[in-house]
């Protein structure tokens, strides 16, 4: 917009900005209203809980608890199971997030440009693990990983390798769950990547092709940069999801063997189940801090200039 030199021009500009601001508030207010009531309220309440010693015995009289400051947070450092869970969770994220993102991206690329027919079928097929019940998934994966009769060990047997008992080995249980999580979630990421890929204007590719760019160069100079907002979103969402991984250990190994697959969320779930609401809330907010820290890291790495 060129800055007008007349007074009326100035007023027009301010009124335009005001109009846009009003529109901004108008567009966000329905969301914000509901959000404040049903999201912000409970979050504040649970944050308060973490500074008290509230337990299940207090649920009928929640105001009658003691304020204990950061005591619940301090307890975490002495909790051996929490420390183990933190280690497991970190490993899960460091290995699982890149793996799943790569798999999802490859699948999206493959389905986007590699196929001419049956695209819909493939899309549905790759997304199926996301919608399949975790119960069914766990039964099948348990079979896959069974020591004697399982598919994985049978295939390894053909190659002359004596496969281990995947889920009962303290050093192999977590990697097995990582593989399972990658398999399960790549469809979800694929769908988001597909949306992002579709939004890349075709003429950019045409221009690149005219300039003589091959497949790899098109990918590197057109696709990847244009996918940046999507990648950031996928990275943050996967990290958030994987930092809270719960269903896989819950259904497959119950945190075992010997706590090698217990995650922070699993430990939080147990603590809520025991009625230690204050402690569980404190743990949740420590997890939250971890999530925020990692997300900020991703924002640093992948934010494009017009973001922020």
């Amino acid at each position: 917009m060129t800055t007008p030199s007349t007074v009326t021009g100035q007023t027009r500009q301010t009124s335009q900005r005001a109009r846009r601001a009003r529109a901004g508030w108008g567009f966000t207010s329905p969301f914000t209203a509901l959000f404040l009531v049903f999201m912000a309220g409970p979050v504040l309440a649970s944050l308060l809980m973490s500074f008290t010693d509230i337990g299940s015995a207090d649920i009928r009289n929640p105001l009658g608890v003691n304020f204990v400051g950061f005591e619940q947070y301090g307890k975490l450092l002495e909790d051996a199971r929490f420390l183990k869970a933190a280690g497991n969770t970190a490993l899960f994220v460091v290995l699982g997030v890149p793996l799943t993102m790569l798999a999802g991206l490859l699948a999206a690329l493959g389905l986007n440009s590699g196929l001419t027919k049956f695209r819909g079928l493939f899309r549905v097929g790759y997304y199926l693990p996301v919608v399949t019940s975790i119960v069914a998934i766990s039964v099948v994966w348990r079979f896959l990983l069974q020591p004697e009769t399982g598919l994985v060990n049978s295939v390894l047997g053909l190659l002359g390798i004596d496969g281990p008992h995947w889920l009962a080995d303290t050093s192999l249980a977590l990697p097995s769950l990582i593989a399972m999580a990658t398999w399960r979630n790549l469809g979800f990421l694929m769908v988001i990547f597909l949306a992002g890929l579709q939004a890349i204007p075709q003429n950019l590719y045409e221009a690149a092709r005219i300039d003589g760019a091959g497949w790899w160069q098109q990918f590197r100079y057109v696709t990847l940069p244009m996918l940046r907002p999507t990648m950031l979103f996928v990275a943050v969402i996967s990290t958030i999801g994987y930092l809270q991984f719960f269903e896989e250990p819950f259904v497959m190994t119950q945190g075992g063997p010997l706590n090698s697959t217990v995650s922070i969320s699993y430990h939080i779930y147990d603590q809520f189940g025991f009625g230690n609401y204050g402690y569980a809330s404190a743990m949740s907010y420590v997890l939250f801090l971890g999530i925020v820290a990692l997300s900020l890291l991703w924002f640093r790495l992948l934010s494009s200039r017009d973001d922020r």
Binding site: A21, P30, T32, F35, V124, F143, T230
Partner: protein, 296 residues
């Protein structure tokens, strides 16, 4: 695929003036890609197929180790027992109403808020974005009890309001739509403003049509999340007539000390069908968006 009209520089004379992908090397590459994707598909679809087939097996066969693929003695007993005991119409209706309401609500509220956060400037914008993003990062479990107490104090237990309202303001949805809308060219919006269109019109007639892939994606994800939600509907409903499908399923298949896998699998098949249908319908919109034509 386009065919170049202008003469090409000498260095690229080797490239034939036909659509790419018909050279033998390309064809092999294409075939390999198809093969890899196909193997991937089998790996992806396997467990779902097993779930489908096992729903037609007897309880004993389902528990068999090693598991069988094709049912030895196919039976519809699980489905019969399930529908016999389940008041299917009620639970199905509840699930549909709740999931549809949450999905539609999210699509509307989140695209509006996402657009404002991506393309409009207004005071408090940064704070709102920060708070929304922050909430996406709060672990889900921690707000459950306070939220339930709140909903109960508002008198919304055992009602559609209690099942739907807490999930209409989806922070995830806002984040998602905002990221997507960042990539919509500002020029489109500016030129519409120059033409005198109101903000609402710009949003509805220019921006929204460009968002079809994103809306389809968010729709699927929200629908899936709401449809499979178990703990919240369980706790909010105090009479059976407000149960959703996953709750009813657990009622009939998970006991105090043992689980009836045949019923559970049959129930899982029933529960997954609507989600699949929604997905199949919406995934057609993952097609090249109108984004490209809009630039002209």
């Amino acid at each position: 695929m386009t065919t170049e009209i202008a003469p090409k520089p000498a260095s690229r004379q080797r490239t034939r003036r036909r659509s790419r992908g018909t050279r033998p090397r390309d064809r092999v590459a294409r075939l390999m890609l198809h093969l890899v994707l196909l193997i991937g598909l089998v790996v992806m679809v396997g467990p779902f197929l097993w779930m489908l087939l096992s729903a037609f097996k007897s309880e004993a066969e389902v528990r068999q180790v090693p598991p069988t693929w094709w049912p030895v003695d196919a039976t519809v007993e699980n489905f019969v027992r399930l529908f016999d005991r389940l008041d299917f119409p009620t639970y199905f209706t509840n699930s549909v109403v709740v999931a549809a309401a949450v999905t539609v609500g999210n699509l509307i509220l989140c695209s509006a808020a996402g657009y404002a956060l991506a393309k409009l400037r207004f005071p408090g914008q940064r704070l709102l974005l920060g708070v929304v993003l922050g909430t996406v990062m709060v672990p889900g479990m921690v707000t459950f009890v306070p939220l339930f107490v709140l909903v109960s104090k508002l008198g919304m237990t055992n009602s559609y309001a209690g099942l739907v309202l807490p999930f209409l303001a989806g922070a995830f949805g806002v984040f998602f739509m905002r990221q997507f809308m960042l990539s919509i060219p500002d020029e489109l919006i500016e030129s519409a403003r120059l033409d005198g269109a109101s903000e609402l019109r710009i949003f509805l007639q220019i921006v929204m049509p460009l968002c079809r892939p994103a809306l389809a994606t968010l729709g699927i994800l929200t629908f899936l999340g709401s449809w499979n939600n178990f703990l919240w509907p369980l706790v909010v409903a105090t009479t059976e007539d407000k149960y959703t499908l996953p709750v009813a399923l657990a009622l009939y298949s998970v006991g105090q000390n043992n689980t009836e896998y045949g019923l559970l699998l049959a129930g899982s098949v029933v529960v997954v069908m609507p989600v699949l249908i929604v997905f199949v319908i919406l995934q057609r919109h993952f097609v090249r968006g109108v984004a490209t034509t809009g630039l002209k």
